[in-house]
């Protein structure tokens, strides 16, 4: 399954009205969307609201999504438009200070960074937590067996489908599925002390 196809199951369910399927897509893309919006709107406090609005607009527009583009491409455009509209609205409000307005960033280049800030406010604690999480993922990857590491790298970084990984690693698809699952679980285990903070995430 190519990365674009991986969404299509959930997208189709969401198009039929399944809000939970849509939530699963939101969890998948929320960080990237917030990062995108944060590059356009400097005020980090506004980012989650604009991201929320983007996802709601996407939900409403889903019946019209026909899959001509990848879901994330379509969602990306909605987020850009929502952020642009928010910027216009901000300019109309005399109470909004200049700090909320962004410079003209290149919103079409998702990888460009104009002093990108994390959407959780960029506090020292948040930055430290981010670094710790990144470090934990890296060390967990290194600690994996070669088979598990190769499987998850081919899937998550190279974006290969199960079929392609099966060919590359010369093993059955079921084994690919199993290795990726075990790799994820091993990394998740490393992240547990960082993510399971008391009073933290409640799903």
């Amino acid at each position: 399954m190519s990365p674009a196809d991986a969404d299509s199951l959930l997208v189709e369910r969401a198009r039929q009205g399944d809000t939970r399927a849509f939530e699963m897509l939101v969890v998948k893309y929320q960080r990237r969307i917030e990062r995108l919006i944060a590059r356009m709107v400097r005020d980090v406090d506004l980012v989650p609201d604009i991201a929320q609005e983007s996802f709601i607009r996407a939900w409403r527009a889903l019946p019209k999504f026909r899959g001509e583009s990848a879901f994330y491409t379509w969602l990306y455009r909605i987020a850009v438009n929502t952020a642009k509209k928010a910027l216009v609205d901000l300019k109309r409000d005399p109470l909004i200070t200049e700090s909320a307005l962004s410079q003209a960033g290149d919103e079409d280049d998702e990888t460009s960074r104009v002093e990108s800030e994390p959407s959780d406010g960029g506090t020292p604690e948040a930055l430290l937590a981010s670094r710790q999480i990144a470090a934990a993922v890296n060390s967990a990857i290194e600690a994996l067996s070669d088979d598990l590491r190769q499987a998850i790298v081919l899937r998550e970084i190279e974006g290969l489908s199960y079929e392609e990984i099966s060919e590359a690693m010369n093993c059955p698809i079921g084994t690919v599925r199993s290795r990726i699952f075990r790799a994820r679980e091993a990394i998740a285990e490393r992240l547990r002390p960082l993510l399971d903070a008391p009073g933290g995430a409640r799903w």
Partner: protein, 234 residues
């Protein structure tokens, strides 16, 4: 070791498989998401891991993400229930308008905010058994014996509100939202054979409770919510 022994059936396998687009995993993974907070946490972790592998600046704690989804869930709950016919053509003709219903007016501009629209709908709901806006809650005609006073409402009439009298009782609520299959009596929540629609289970619970006479007030209606007129085409 190139061949891994089969693991015991860890339900998280479904989440991992669905994350990679495995069609067989979709049903079970979605069911897990619905009922199990740790499954939601797992889904989040898997995708956080993928994000971080691709781009370290996407690393951050889960609390913000969980709050984000929780807030979005609340906002989604205020959105109109989507009928499957919104996405696909209504080939079955299950969205039936009562005889004599005027054709839907031209699509209205979205005027006030949803809240303002709520203001005039809510009083009607308080009095009647069930207030719903056409296009949001679809009633399919069933063979219910006391359906005589039922007022089915259907179609995409923007802004129309129909208050359904409480006297119609439970038969009114042999309803199917998101029509994609015949809604035989008793099929609510059970999943009619061949049904392809996906409904919010909270609506099913509400419908069951209403039929069993456990509910009388529309305020507890979780499936019926006023709706804005449809978004204008861009």
């Amino acid at each position: 070791m190139s061949d891994s022994p089969p693991e015991p059936l860890d339900p998280r396998r479904w989440l991992s498989a669905l994350a990679d687009g495995d069609a067989e995993a979709a049903e079970r993974a979605c069911a897990l998401w619905a009922r199990d907070a740790s499954a939601r946490q797992t889904w989040h972790r898997y995708h956080l891991i993928g994000d971080v592998l691709r781009s370290e600046d996407l690393a951050h704690g889960a609390a913000h993400d969980a709050r984000f989804v929780a807030e979005l869930r609340e906002r989604l709950a205020q959105e109109p229930m989507r009928a499957a016919s919104d996405a696909d053509a209504d080939a079955d003709g299950m969205l039936s308008m009562p005889a004599g219903t005027p054709p839907p007016p031209a699509q209205a501009r979205p005027s006030a905010s949803r809240r303002e629209r709520l203001r005039w709908l809510v009083p009607a709901a308080a009095a009647a058994g069930f207030a719903a806006v056409a296009g949001m809650l679809v009633l399919t005609r069933t063979a219910a014996p006391d359906a005589g006073s039922a007022v089915p409402l259907a179609g995409a009439t923007p802004g129309a509100a129909v208050a359904l009298g409480a006297s119609t009782g439970g038969s009114l609520l042999q309803a199917a939202v998101g029509v994609g299959a015949a809604a035989a009596p008793g099929a609510i929540g059970a999943g009619a054979p061949g049904a392809s629609m996906i409904r919010d289970p909270r609506l099913d619970e509400y419908l069951r409770a209403y039929r069993e006479g456990r509910l009388s007030l529309p305020e507890s209606a979780i499936g019926a919510r006023p709706v804005d007129s449809p978004q204008p085409r861009r």
